[in-house]
């Protein structure tokens, strides 16, 4: 882990999904902080200040949507992505913080390079690349 590595925060309660996305993104050179619940992630998000935060929708406690709304208040420069198994249409609240349909990834994600491309894109906009 170097200072120059871009950090990504990941929230998913499914162990397999969390592990394989972490493995993929680490192979891409990102530093990944993975959490099983929204509550844990919220405690550390402003310290981590990730370039991108990827959240599942259905989580054991707080759901992904509320998590992103709270997280974006704590870490407004982070780009937020939803990774969900539901047929989902983005709510007005999430659109209001700048999310668009291209920020929603439906499970199962066939090809994780779509996710890494999206992260690079957000990082480029933030001027971190």
């Amino acid at each position: 882990m170097t200072d120059s590595a871009l950090s990504v925060l990941l929230v998913d309660d499914n162990d397999m999904i969390r592990e394989c996305i972490t493995a993929y993104l680490e192979d891409e050179g990102f530093t990944v902080y993975a959490f099983t619940t929204a509550e844990e992630a919220l405690e550390l998000i402003d310290t981590i200040n990730p370039v991108v935060c990827i959240s599942d929708m259905r989580l054991p406690g707080m759901y992904g949507e509320e998590f992103i709304l709270r997280a974006s208040a704590l870490s407004p420069l982070t780009g937020y992505l939803l990774h969900t198994g539901m047929l989902y249409t983005l709510s007005d609240e999430l659109r209001a913080i700048g999310m668009t349909d291209s920020d929603v990834f439906l499970k199962p994600l066939y090809d994780l390079s779509k996710l890494s491309k999206k992260i690079y894109q957000i990082a480029a906009v933030r001027g971190e690349l």
């Binding site: 499914n14 397999m16 999904i17 394989c20 996305i21 493995a23 993929y24 680490e26 192979d27 198994g85 539901m86 047929l87 499970k107 199962p108 994600l109 066939y110 090809d111 994780l112």
Partner: protein
């Protein structure tokens, strides 16, 4: 007191007559041979015949032959026991269609000692249809809820399968520095590992895992969309794309595969390229087409080279969909009754006999369209659906 009042009321024959003649149920009397001695005017409004076409005729002329043995049993019981009997049976309307009637009959001996059978008949066709429809809708709602839940649960493991296959592939790639470093640490050459995996077809296997996973996920997405749609989801659709989707859905239906061998049937698609988009209820029309395809697949069970042809064309402002099979076809009597509720040629348990009647409702009431069927024994069967191209306005 009340009893005396009742007696006084019924002293008048004209009151009786008015009651009988205004009843919306049929009131009838039969002799012991089963011939109608009297039928009330309600017969004409419920079954269409002139009363003169009924009086003097045997009830057996009007009842569905399949129901005659049951009717006869009731008839004989009434003659023997003088106890009120009730039964529901099918009776033919003057226009050839079949109605379900519930009749109550009893033996009567009048003041002159003359014995007849008296009865009333009530038309229960609609009620039975909607009762069955409601119970089926409830079942469907439950099943689609379960299917949606299942589909969602399957997406996570499926994601893990797909993404881990991708990770395995990447972990032997020389372009990732961590791989090169780890290989060096354990003293093997990444290039050689790569060459070995290539030689033994391991990358192909990984690819198969991904292809199969993607296929499974497409099936689930289809299912999820099918179960989530409501009836109010009318939209403009391109018929060719829509029909392809329905055929794909039919191909992944468990019953279609296991019971009816749908994958053995050759599908011919003859779509007109010139059709404009058609406004339709996606879930409704999916149900219609799946029902017809299921019927076709069942009919083709014993056909050597089973073929289903799906055709589209435009005729006079109508979009026409034809689904034709090369199965055994059906006789004229069956063809006429095929859209009637509860009409089924299948064994008990194989079908409710509602599928095509619901299809008929959806096409005619829901889309202002026309559904018809053309068939002859030995010449296959062709369902035609015509939908107005400007939609339901």
């Amino acid at each position: 007191m009340p009893q005396r009042a009742t007696e006084t009321f019924f002293n008048s024959a004209s009151r009786y007559r008015t009651l009988v003649e205004n009843s919306c149920d049929i009131i009838f009397s039969l002799d012991f041979e089963g011939r109608f001695a009297y039928v009330s005017p309600a017969w004409k409004s419920l079954l269409g015949h002139e009363l003169s076409e009924v009086v003097g005729h045997n009830f057996r002329e009007f009842v569905d032959p399949e129901d005659i043995p049951r009717c006869e049993e009731v008839f004989m019981t009434v003659i023997r026991t003088n106890a009120m009997q009730e039964m529901t049976y099918r009776v033919q309307h003057a226009d050839g269609s079949w109605r379900q009637h519930t009749s109550r009959v009893n033996r009567h001996r009048d003041e002159n000692g003359e014995k007849t059978i008296f009865g009333t008949s009530h038309d229960v066709t609609e009620r039975l249809f909607f009762e069955e429809l409601i119970s089926r809708t409830e079942k469907m709602t439950m099943i689609s809820g379960m299917a949606a839940g299942m589909a969602h649960e399957i997406n996570n493991p499926l994601g893990a399968i797909l993404q881990n296959a991708q990770n395995i592939e990447r972990r032997v790639s020389t372009s990732i520095p961590a791989n090169v470093q780890a290989a060096a640490e354990v003293g093997v050459s990444l290039d050689l590992i790569h060459a070995y995996m290539q030689k033994r077809g391991i990358f192909d296997f990984i690819n198969h895992i991904r292809t199969a996973g993607i296929k499974a996920s497409e099936i689930i997405t289809n299912m999820l969309q099918f179960s989530r749609r409501s009836d109010a989801d009318s939209e403009n659709v391109d018929l060719s794309t829509f029909l392809d989707k329905v055929l794909e859905l039919a191909g992944s239906d468990y019953d279609m595969k296991k019971k009816y061998g749908f994958q053995k049937i050759e599908l011919q698609r003859l779509y007109s390229a010139a059709l404009p988009e058609v406004h339709l209820s996606v879930s409704g029309m999916e149900q219609v087409l799946l029902n017809i395809l299921k019927n076709a697949a069942q009919a083709l069970a014993a056909t050597e080279t089973p073929i289903i042809t799906v055709r589209t064309r435009g005729v006079k402002g109508m979009a026409v969909i034809e689904i034709e099979d090369n199965g055994p076809g059906m006789d004229e009597k069956t063809r006429q009754r095929i859209f009637e509720p509860f009409f089924t040629k299948k064994e008990i348990g194989a079908g409710t006999g509602l599928g095509l009647s619901v299809a008929h409702q959806i096409v005619t009431k829901g889309h202002h369209g026309i559904i018809s069927v053309r068939s002859r024994p030995g010449e296959g069967c062709c369902f035609t659906i015509k939908l107005p191209m400007q939609g339901r306005g």
